[in-house]
Symmetry: C2
Subunit: 282 residues, 2 copies
Amino acid sequence: MIKNNTELEYKTSLWFTEEEKENLRIDYRIKEIIYDVYSPYQHIVIADTYDFGKTLILDDAVQTTVTDGFIYNEMITHVPICAHPGPKNILIIGGGDCGAVKEIAKYPYIEKIDMVEIDEMVVAASKKYLKEIAGMKQDNRINHIFADGVKYAKECKELYDIVIVDSSDPIGPAVKLFSAEFYSNIFKILNDDGIFVCQSESPIFYTSIMKKIYKTLQSIYKDVKLYTATVPTYPGGLWSFTMASKNEISVKTDKLVEGNQYVNKEILESCFCLPEFVKKSL
Amino acid sequence: MIKNNTELEYKTSLWFTEEEKENLRIDYRIKEIIYDVYSPYQHIVIADTYDFGKTLILDDAVQTTVTDGFIYNEMITHVPICAHPGPKNILIIGGGDCGAVKEIAKYPYIEKIDMVEIDEMVVAASKKYLKEIAGMKQDNRINHIFADGVKYAKECKELYDIVIVDSSDPIGPAVKLFSAEFYSNIFKILNDDGIFVCQSESPIFYTSIMKKIYKTLQSIYKDVKLYTATVPTYPGGLWSFTMASKNEISVKTDKLVEGNQYVNKEILESCFCLPEFVKKSL
């Protein structure tokens, strides 16, 4: 809300306008376009923005930025890891920016991380241009599988301790990643003490999607818990994640690795405390 | 991030663009302008927006909306009330939209609420056009004082249990509401068990302002605590409030009235759990 008088500068500068919703837009002033390519699946842009630094934009929607991407990536990984008694094998579906896999790799006792991402070009571009998010040492525990996550879950013969669905919004190809059939297939590839987690959209703007995910997971799993974090570049700021398990979910704060930027022990406990309107909407 | 194809409609429709920061804007599509007047102090606009309903805009900055205004108004009032052993007299400085005073009036044991707002026209417009925020029954405990809050605090001879500074951002006339002199004057008009609270800006975008408020209050008061809430229409979503007291601050969740939209007992406890980067910035 604090502004400067740079009207003239505005008129001659480069902006990216994201249509957050039909009637709401966010405009990011851009220093430069670093990468701009059409993959077989989507339009991939990496732009250097003034306020959020380097930003990954897929089909005109901001996915992650070097300034606030850590919030989402830490919350979708550390929470399920701390809710599992001793995870060894983890599957990520989506997560092309490689921010989630980087967080998981912080835990030395995790033996194997399979990452199933449909778009190899997103991974390659992130590793090359978004080192702040994707950059990490060579780690032999990580297996990149470039495939359709829905198909993978259906045909998979392995069992995982944790499955993380780090998807874009439920439009176009990502719709199937929000279906009951997909959630049931994930259930089948989870160990008996397995944990499932997905991003479940904005509790303010996409309440019905969030509620549907919650209810669908409740019909399949024994325990379902929703938690939130504030992600500035996502519509409405407040963002939800939904975790589901074949057992009662219990998060152990002493399992959390140190040195994170967003999540600490207090956040790990308090992220399940929901505003009254969110509780009511479930 | 979910969007519809209404390009044509966009081009022929009315939008309000807020310059959140020099390089970041939010565009709200507007149904109609309800009120548009220059008061002696500022440009007051009330617009009906598609996504947030009726919205109060002062000098081109969104102050409150009927869709998310309750988050800010509940958090700046219920938290200090529940941190005080038995508040009777409350002073609000600012708060022209009357949302804060409405929340305070929910507590029957509060005897007197003085509201010092510089701009009578904001109060009148809010009461007339923003009934969802400002509308309430006639309440004889509320005294409207249309005056400069800085001057009022300096010259005041009364003592209060809670002083709430519900101000706009620290630019122009509001700058003095963030000064050490003002905070010291508030200290003098607080009872021995008095509580002070103010909005302390975005922990992401205005970290230095937030930190300065925190440090200044620490130099004056015995105990200072920062808490946060997610307010979708404020830059970055995550917003901070800072509470200070002449004693150790202890929030009692059983004091909270029921029937709020955002704050409940869990939120009252968890709002003090700060993300790691916020903790470090203090």
